[in-house]
Amino acid sequence: MRRDLIDAVNAERAARRAVLTVTDLATGNQRLVREAEIGRDPIAELLERAIRSGKSGIVEGPEGESFVNVYLPPVRIVLIGAVHISQALAPIARLAGYDVEIIDPRTAFATPERFSGFELHAEWPDVVLRTRPLDAYTAIALITHDPKIDDGPLIEALKSGCFYIGALGSRKTHARRLERLKEAGIADHLTSRIDAPIGADIGAASPGEIAVAIMASIIEAFRKRKMFAERRGEQAGE
């Protein structure tokens, strides 16, 4: 691979955009195809399928066998709430290989001592998300239990198509949340994406257990690639 191709792939991923490389296996010729350029490519349909599934592989095009490598941006997890669950979830997410950041405007919670070694923002979510916007390669968990803090980033997540959106609270709490979202004009098909009560249904009770349940749901959402279908407004395929 040429250096300029490697640098271009790295630049696209750093800008949080997906990119593909196509290698002609007979000649060794290579080209880079950015997410936005797929439609103009001679094997557009095959590339579209590859980026949607997120899976690399050999494809048979009109010019013979090519290897298509799909490079997705790094996946990150945003935790709204520097609470006890987040203290357990941050190291679990890191162990599983995901980037993680914690946002909470309540400075009593968002202290470096409680989240040593993690990216922590003691600010309102809208301030942080202005410079680091949510996207399809981001999972978000809303766990402050305070609508004043949770609702803003929740609406932002629904609009920007985060691949996972989980919100802490009982069924009753969630019903009230749905009412608020409806009043804010958010469509039902969007709010139905919210994972609530949050996390895999394993009877989690302690903060550490709830953290494991949330992580399981995030991994499932990412590995089953629901985000690619939903981004295009299709039914999530299994």
């Binding site: 250096r3 490697i6 640098d7 690399s56 592989g57 490079y71 941006p73 790094p74 995901y98 980037d99």
Partner: protein
């Protein structure tokens, strides 16, 4: 592979695994001669998915993986040859392929690995 990211600085690894291609860019920019190995096809139970990278420099230093450690030794040996000749190679590894390769995949899978020079 996943455990390799533990303790890596944010610069070295990001996302779901060590960012091998980012490292390749830095190694190449630093003047090292490199080969890039990529899993292009798998059959049966393969330890690393298609698209996985291993980079190797001309002194045999490497990062990343194309298997669970089963065939990396053979890939690195071939990579040194690719760096010298500048021509890409396709390598096939399977569990029953002991005449062609002394190494194989104990899991019973088969993989094809494309090894190419990094051209500056």
């Amino acid at each position: 592979m996943m455990t390799d990211t533990n303790g890596a600085s944010p610069d070295e690894g990001s996302g779901l695994e060590l960012d091998v291609l980012a490292l390749a860019g830095r190694w190449s920019a630093g003047g090292r001669r490199l080969a890039l190995a990529t899993v292009v096809e798998t059959w049966g139970s393969a330890p690393r998915p298609t698209g996985s990278h291993l980079i190797i420099d001309d002194e045999g230093r490497f990062e990343g993986s194309v298997s669970g450690g089963c065939v990396e030794g053979a890939v690195i040996a071939e990579a040194l040859d690719v760096i010298e000749t500048g021509s890409p190679k396709m390598l096939d590894f399977g569990v029953a392929d002991e005449t062609a390769w002394r190494v194989g995949l104990s899991c019973g899978g088969r993989i094809r690995v494309y090894v190419e020079p990094v051209l500056r």
